[in-house]
């Protein structure tokens, strides 16, 4: 019997919805749009942040180490200890940088030997570097062998690029070469894997770490030092790290007579030109920050609006509930009927809103379920409060009020 009553009341609720169609549509639309606005505002933060990331990625920020007065960026004669910043990943700098280009000065007085055990004097020089030079730098082409890529030169494994002519003279028989720096007291040969050839004169280009640590034992200085940032948003982080070792560019007349973290006098400056990056990005960052701060307020406003809308739409039906009660409908049934109506309208609106949201954002859509749930609970609470307010009051009082 009870079940039949409930089914009847549900049919009545649906009929009621259809009878006052404009109002019902308005309520569904309100629920839909409020749900949509909650979803979109949350999604917008994600989307705008992604837009900002895209703008950051368009900027390539190169950091160059120069002399103290920012005159020269090459021929720096830097202590090779500065390489430790990279090799030891001090302050986690490697997380932020890429395209590391460190080169040593040209260094002569070397002897080399292939597996034929014949010692030969190297006519040219040896250079330690962390990158594959382009043709413009040394005016000849460099080629790596198929098994290797540029990262081999940033490795600790001893590897080198030799003149192609040298390989041709050896009949391409050997793929390792031993080098000895004649200024070393120990007179030891260090073995290097040949990872590439070049078309130039008798210079050998070695991976910097092995050149510095094993071959020359840190006696040859750094000629140039530069790198790019992985992402231009890390300018602050990288600048912070570099200040431990280099003079920051904004200090005028900066002659710092103190030791840096490497226990060397501050003698070099870092230059990190950003162009118009700040002018482009800071307004967007500010805008996203504003959105993040405003988002909770807008969420609360949307939820409160939903609550008030549902409260108001139910409150207006006092007379109807009075009639139902006077005809014998129990309080619980009255509550059930009104609640069911609003539940149907709210759920329809919410589902439509979610459907539109996914239609707009598709696979990028991030639905904040808990916010939708809070909205739903508040909306239904509004109905519940309103109906309970009416349902619990004496029928005669409601009738009297209507009179």
């Amino acid at each position: 019997m009870r079940k039949r009553t409930e089914l009847y009341l549900m049919r009545y609720g649906i009929t009621n919805i259809l009878r006052s169609l404009p109002k019902s549509i308005a309520l569904v639309c309100a629920a839909m749009v409020l749900t949509l606005s909650i979803c979109i505002i949350s999604q917008s933060i994600v989307t705008q942040t992604q837009s900002l990331e895209d703008v950051y990625s368009e900027y390539i920020i190169e950091t160059v180490i120069t002399d103290q007065f920012c005159i020269e960026e090459t021929n720096l004669a830097m202590n090779s200890k500065y390489y430790n910043i990279i090799s030891q990943n001090l302050h986690g700098i490697r997380d932020y940088i890429t395209d590391i280009k460190i080169r040593s000065s040209f260094s002569s007085n070397y002897t080399y030997m292939f597996d034929d055990k014949v010692e030969r004097e190297l006519g040219g020089s040896v250079v330690g570097l962390t990158y594959l030079p382009d043709e413009e730098e040394f005016k000849h082409e460099f080629n790596l062998m198929p098994l290797y890529d540029e990262s081999i030169l940033l490795d600790s494994r001893p590897s080198c690029i030799v003149p192609k002519r040298m390989m041709e003279d050896m009949g391409w028989e050997y793929y390792t070469v031993r080098l000895r720096y004649d200024k070393q007291e120990e007179n030891e040969f260090v073995e290097f894997n040949i990872v590439g050839t070049h078309e130039g004169p008798d210079n050998i280009y070695c991976s910097y770490e092995s050149f510095n640590d094993e071959l020359t034992k840190g006696t040859v200085s750094i000629y140039s030092f530069r790198f790019n940032l992985i992402n231009s948003k890390y300018t602050g982080e990288v600048a912070k790290i570099l200040k431990f070792y280099f003079i920051e560019p904004s200090i005028v007349g900066a002659i710092r007579r103190e030791l840096n973290e490497l226990k060397i006098l501050f003698r070099y400056t870092f230059v990190m030109p950003k162009g118009n990056l700040d002018d482009v990005v800071k307004p967007i960052e500010s805008d996203i920050r504003k959105l993040k701060i405003a988002e909770p307020f807008l969420f609360v406003l949307s939820v409160a609006t939903g609550l008030v809308v549902s409260f108001m739409s139910t409150k207006n039906r006092k007379a109807e509930f009075a009639v139902m009660r006077s005809l014998g409908t129990g309080k619980a049934m009255v509550f059930f009927e009104a609640f069911f109506e609003q539940l149907l309208l709210c759920l329809t609106g919410m589902l439509l809103g979610i459907a539109v949201f996914f239609a707009i954002y598709r696979q990028n859509a991030v639905l904040v379920v808990w916010k939708i749930a809070v909205f739903f609970v508040c909306y239904m609470s509004g109905t519940a409060i309103s109906v309970l307010n009416v349902a619990l009051v004496n029928v005669m009082k409601i009738m009297k009020a209507n009179e």
Binding site: S44, Q48, F106, M312
Partner: protein
């Protein structure tokens, strides 16, 4: 009206709910409107941060002075016309025709790190007073002498000599010269004291002393005006065995040499009124304490700044207002700042003069210095410095920013030298750089080498056209139509890649506003649909009791208007408070730690004011719109027949009973 007001406070809860609903929706929409306006201003600021420029390579229009330089790409006569065409283009925002002056201040020392002619000319000029300790023939120039500098007497030394290099002695100088005396003798005598006007060319690392060169007038080609090459006869070679070569250079007259033997001190020579040496010393002193002044209407229209090769490292760039007002502000190079211990906020007073220019040729190495490198050559225009001209005016500039370069500064068509300060064009009145510059070169004419003079009407790199962002293709098409296609090079600071992303950002911000408007519309629809049911009932009652339609209309409207006004006011106040709070937090967080307000900070504050205006404007507009919609509905309802109104009510009552 009284009745409607009474009706409202008879049902206080209902009235309060209506007011709350309208207030909430008004508040939400106002905040959204304010946020959209802020986003719009932010994106606009971001877009305005880009400057798209077109530049012509004037060196493509001129025959360069290097003897092996090729034919220019375009006729020099076209250059003026091309610039005018650019200025007249519909896509041009403005053009920048830069001017070059110099400014003297006894408190400023020009920066020079060596005597490289192209980079630092004319600052390595100096006056030395000293005793000749040795002299002899050399391989490169004709002869060289070593002087011990008399530190007690008059000396004007360039910055890099005064600065003291621990590896180099600044007590001696190695001076090279070209012309012997007319009777083929060394112009200096060992043991004698001289005052010498010398160009400090650099350092001699073997001798561990500074080296210099006797410079007759500042122009290489004019050296031959003062002397000639002379082939020694066999007799002369026997008579003069110390001359170890067949050919020497000798002066026409011994008075042209840029040095003089001193019997007492250099100061005494000057005090005696010697015009020539007073002029030379004065010119040298003033040049040493001069900077170059670049007058511009837009720093970022210059190639170096536009591409980021030069950038502001301290302070800020010159603002648009400052250009327009000709404000006495300047941006100086980091080198000048370091040399003179100048900081942002300091003021520098300059006596401004216009210098003539000389054209040199620069060799630009291709490839690594450590390896054998090839060169390309480029004409460069360097000022000659002070040569006794009148000062134009005195001007005091406030330093607002310091710039530096990714690499070393230099002279060149698209480069800026070390001693440049940048000021707004309008800060100095006058017509400058109108005198043509003569470029002297050697060309083969009828099989003989001859000096040829070429007239240059502008300094290369002094012209840019600022084009509307995103319009370079259209601009180029316009130039092509005029026959100037391919002459311009364009740089847009990556605007073409980033603009799309900024537009996408704005679309999202606009979408939020759209949804907010939609939400407001739906809320208003709900409110009106509920309110109008009651209103219909009241209207029907009033009309059936004999009230006039107009009276009934106004009676109902006064209730709605009151609710809307109260609700909008509450919504506006709440919206302004919330939005103001949001913006304050946003701006505070964004500029945390900044000591001085930047241009961006000021722009954001302006944006804050304008978007706050949008908040209350939108609150007012939505109140007006809501009242209008309600008025239209009420008007329609009050115009209906009473029975129809009643029937509508009865029908709905019947429907409920069923």
């Amino acid at each position: 009206m009284k009745y409607s007001i009474k009706k409202l406070y008879r049902a206080p809860i209902k009235t309060a709910i209506f007011i709350l609903l309208i207030a909430l929706s008004a508040s939400a929409l106002s905040i959204s409107m304010g946020m959209w306006k802020y986003s719009y201003d932010s994106i606009k600021y971001s877009k305005d941060a880009f400057t798209t420029i077109g530049i012509v390579r004037e060196l493509e229009f001129m025959e360069q002075i290097y003897t092996s330089s090729g034919e220019p790409k375009y006729d020099y006569e076209l250059l003026g016309k091309v610039k005018q065409a650019a200025e007249d283009s519909q896509y041009t925002k403005h053009t920048d025709r830069r001017k070059y002056l110099m400014g003297y201040s006894p408190d400023i020392t020009s920066f020079a790190s060596d005597g490289t002619r192209e980079r630092f000319y004319p600052y390595p000029y100096g006056i030395i007073t000293g005793v000749c300790e040795s002299i002899g023939f050399t391989r490169g120039s004709n002869y060289a002498a070593i002087f011990k500098i008399d530190k007690e007497d008059l000396n004007i030394l360039p910055y890099f000599v005064e600065r003291k290099d621990p590896n180099i002695s600044n007590e001696y100088i190695y001076v090279r010269g070209l012309h012997l005396t007319n009777d083929l003798r060394f112009p200096f005598e060992v043991g004698e004291k001289y005052i010498v006007h010398v160009y400090f060319s650099g350092r001699d690392n073997d001798l561990k002393m500074y080296s210099g060169r006797l410079d007759y007038s500042g122009r290489y080609s004019e050296i031959v005006k003062y002397g000639e090459f002379y082939n020694l006869s066999e007799e002369e070679k026997k008579e003069r065995p110390e001359i170890d070569r067949d050919r020497v250079s000798r002066a026409y007259e011994d008075t042209v040499h840029p040095f003089q033997k001193l019997t007492s001190s250099a100061q005494a020579l000057l005090d005696s009124g010697d015009k020539r040496w007073n002029e030379l010393v004065n010119n040298c002193r003033i040049t040493k304490h001069s900077t170059e002044i670049l007058l511009t209407d837009d720093m970022y229209s210059m190639y170096s700044f536009n591409t980021g090769d030069l950038y502001i490292v301290n302070g800020r760039a010159i603002s648009k207002d400052e250009y327009e007002q000709g404000a006495k502000v300047c941006v100086i190079s980091w080198n000048v700042a370091v040399t003179n211990d100048l900081r942002v906020g300091d003021k520098i007073k300059l006596s401004v003069y216009e210098s003539d220019f000389s054209v040199f040729n620069r060799h630009i190495p291709i490839g690594d210095r450590g390896s054998s490198a090839d060169y390309i050559t480029e004409d460069i225009f360097a000022p000659l410095g002070y040569r006794g001209q009148d000062f134009i005016t005195e001007a005091e500039y406030e330093i607002i920013g310091e710039y530096r370069g990714k690499g070393a500064l230099d002279r060149g068509e698209f480069l800026i030298s070390h001693n440049m300060i940048i000021v707004p064009s309008k800060s100095l009145e006058g017509d400058f750089n109108t005198k043509p510059i003569i470029a002297e070169t050697v060309r083969s004419v009828d099989g003989k080498s001859q000096f040829v003079k070429k007239e240059r009407t502008s300094i290369p790199g002094s012209f840019s056209v600022v084009i509307e962002n995103g319009k370079t293709e259209e601009f180029e098409k316009e130039m092509e139509a005029l026959g100037y296609g391919g002459m311009f090079y364009y740089f847009d600071q990556n605007y073409s890649e980033i603009a799309g992303k900024l537009d996408g950002y704005m679309k999202t911000a606009s979408f939020i506003l759209f949804i907010s408007v939609l939400a407001w519309v739906c809320i208003v629809a709900v409110f009106l649909s509920i309110y109008m049911i009651d209103s219909r009932k009241n209207l029907a009652t009033m009309l059936s009791l004999g009230a006039g339609r107009v009276r009934a209309f106004f009676s109902e409207m006064s209730g709605i208007v009151l609710i809307v006004i109260i609700a909008s006011t509450i919504g506006l106040i709440a919206g302004m408070e919330l939005y103001g709070d949001v913006l304050d937090k946003t701006i505070a967080a964004g500029f945390e730690g900044m000591s001085a307000p930047t241009e961006l900070f000021k722009a954001m504050n302006i944006s804050k004011m304008q978007s706050t205006k949008a908040v209350w404007l939108s609150a007012i507009i939505q109140a007006v719109v809501l009242i209008l919609i309600a008025a239209i509905i009420e008007c329609t309802q009050s115009g209906q027949d009473v029975f129809r109104l009643m029937k509508g009510l009865k029908k709905s009552k019947n429907a409920k009973k069923n």
